[in-house]
Symmetry: C2
Subunit: 527 residues, 2 copies
Amino acid sequence: MTTLLGHNYIGGGRSANGTLQLQSLDATTGDALPGTFFQATEAEVDAAASAAAAAYPIYRNLSAEKRATFLNAIADEIDALGDDFVATVCRETALPAGRIQGERGRTSGQMRLFAKVLRRGDFYGARIDQVLPDRQPLPRPDLRQYRIALGPVAVFGASNFPLAFSTAGGDTASALAAGCPVVFKAHSGHMATAEWVADAVIRAAERTGMPAGVFNMIYGGGVGEWLVKHPAIQAVGFTGSLKGGNTLSQMAATRPQPIPVFAEMSSINPVIILPQALKLRGERIAAELSASVTLGCGQFCTNPGLIIGLGSAQFSAFLEQFGAIMHEQPAQTMLNAGALVSYSHGLGLLHEHPGLTHLAGKPQQGVQAWPQVFKADVSLLLNGDELLQEEVFGPTTIVVETRDQAQLIAALHGLRGQLTATVIGEPEELLEYRWLTELLQEKVGRILLNGYPTGVEVCEAMVHGGPYPATSDPRGTSVGTLAIDRFLRPVCFQNYPDALLPEALQNANPLNIQRLVNGVSTREALG
Amino acid sequence: MTTLLGHNYIGGGRSANGTLQLQSLDATTGDALPGTFFQATEAEVDAAASAAAAAYPIYRNLSAEKRATFLNAIADEIDALGDDFVATVCRETALPAGRIQGERGRTSGQMRLFAKVLRRGDFYGARIDQVLPDRQPLPRPDLRQYRIALGPVAVFGASNFPLAFSTAGGDTASALAAGCPVVFKAHSGHMATAEWVADAVIRAAERTGMPAGVFNMIYGGGVGEWLVKHPAIQAVGFTGSLKGGNTLSQMAATRPQPIPVFAEMSSINPVIILPQALKLRGERIAAELSASVTLGCGQFCTNPGLIIGLGSAQFSAFLEQFGAIMHEQPAQTMLNAGALVSYSHGLGLLHEHPGLTHLAGKPQQGVQAWPQVFKADVSLLLNGDELLQEEVFGPTTIVVETRDQAQLIAALHGLRGQLTATVIGEPEELLEYRWLTELLQEKVGRILLNGYPTGVEVCEAMVHGGPYPATSDPRGTSVGTLAIDRFLRPVCFQNYPDALLPEALQNANPLNIQRLVNGVSTREALG
């Protein structure tokens, strides 16, 4: 078993200069776990960012192949984390062992997927415009472009995915793939988990000869501000609350040198159920939707928090079935005591609001979260009521009934940006409602037909992003291989001799990558 | 000749509800040109943004082919603007007719280049991960991704390129190509020029059946704030001063819904001259560099404002030659009276600074700008002196002499982000100084070897961007075809029937575009 030191990870070493020591709590019992964690001092945060800055020119210049080897080594180390590790994660998060084992595979899998991206080489975005010496009135010089790492990246992990969106999660994987050293701020909800994973990353870095400082990790509350404001940090990845993401974005925008922030924040993930589907399979939809709302105690970014239908006898029947199923769902333990407090508070606001009716769910009490269903008057969406738009993190959802298509359109226009939208409908009615999927494109990052949003596949085509407030920048995704784009920027080389060009742009195309040469996509070498 | 109405362009119509009327001035004489321009009211700015928002769902859904036809029609209309037009631009900007004729061709040329990009289809970023029904433990759904237009874009043009970076310039062209309707804020330095070009765009839009509101233009000072803060606006393109760009960026970041800003702002474009090149061709370099510094009265974003060399007898001789040539360069008329005031003010600060010495140039006086050369102590770069880092817009440059390589490295580390850096050296010494080009990659968007930065080719591989303060976002370029990326965002479609997918993602690949299918780049149709 890993011995937990609780020291910060700085430039390949460990450091515990602070006096404030933190404890990690068992999410189920509230008991302190063994060991303490040293909150980073301002000097330690500076040292971590400086170590990342020192690693940057070395690490970004390693071949993509070498970075791929590093990512694969991290994946192997994570896969090798055994039952002791899983038990620790379960204690810190109250998530079941099966889920953690699955998430371990997802986390190593996404490292391996980014290694594939590095070997494929399309992330370079290589473009070559060859010299045109005889062009009139002026010759065109030789111009070549590829993308390089932005610089050291600060990553803030999420509470709800202690592995896949945390220490070695998607933001870390995509930043490391891009060639950016990382300073990771450990989530205070799973500091022991973070230490196990950081150890795995460091072992992989040492084994594959990476520069010290390629990965750093700091503990503590409030230390993130020092990190985001540090001049060496060139971008921020964040998964968490709207308030937290907004705060970091403002810090980043008001630095002497503003930097980009990719914050994945708040989404209520509307599910729209069309009439024919309700008629033919309303009961099944009620069961499936209930499972999606309560999955993992509703603690998913893509949890369906809003269910929209057209008023009808079928929809009323569906609501009864859905409410009945939800009412019978058991309470579950949340990720930590703070999450339960927030959930109870959020439910309180929904109960108090005059535009909402409680449809189903046992009274919220005790140490676990009880699933709930509310119904909101459509006017709340039409008038952009804030309460309906804010994610209540936990196993609850709100139903909205619209009178007709015109009101459905108006209600959807009232929605803010979302990670996902789901439409459940029969094949013919989906074609009939084509306008609906067109409209939803303008609101979300991903549209699902006849599925449920709570599965986020790690693949090439995934978008886990969307317009604000789903994220702080709709042009990115934090899941899937396109996530690497967030940490790259283009550089152009004019009139370079072949020997000075990076391999990705050399005439012979030694990396055998797809390039845009004089406007044509090709793998061919240049004469 | 176009009749100048001076009314704002809103949703395909013209509007002049304001009471404030503005006049455009002859840049050489200061005389008012005929006609007046109506400053937009807040309601007119709202109407313009709303017209763009109304056009958005229609325009973004037009086929790429139709948008390409529109861009080509704009190009034709711009090419057809004749001698009257050129004379107007010359009066408003004091730029010579030959330059304006060239810029007209560059402006229509970049519209045609974006039309090619639309037809090639790589801007879609199409990615397909096909369903894996038998995958364990869970099947993978079918997932497909492409990129859609962000939404209405506000564009602020530059004074120094009244055509190529203005009304129908690079930002407008790339936003329209992406499928984003545009609201253009006419530059007060060339409002008549803006009207000629806006008329050309509107004629093209009408001729090709574009939705009303695809292009709008407003006049006035201070109206930009209403525009950037308008909820319909989803991104901003800007070319201008650091102060202006920072102000817009802050406005955009503090909106209820923050939006991205691409501001191209301030760059001093260092030129580093290596010893062997100085020895072999110092005199030629002095002449060429002088031509680059004074080209277009030094009013280029890529004007070389900093010349760095290693102290030596050759470098001293070079400085004498360079100073002598610069001293003999004639004064030129600037773009407008304000530019001359700024130039004189900037020179004043350089004269006053104790760390700077005036090397060459006739006293700044009269109504034209006189070329100047200053020499700065290297300590100003080492200590990050603000004055040395700020662009002085006009025909002046600052020389810095470094003692040795170590001091050169330290000085370059002191540089802020730049659009360009140039290295002049002999083939062998460029290889010897490989570390220099590696270091410069971290500072700039484009590195030129043995050239001068004042030509910015419009092509696939160009990067006219770079780290702050060169731009507000180092991941973009405002020249070249990659500029379209700034105005696109990815959307993912899960479990879609073929008939509901956009053409770019349909199985048969009807657009015959390059796509990433199951991790492989291909044009093949799917079975």
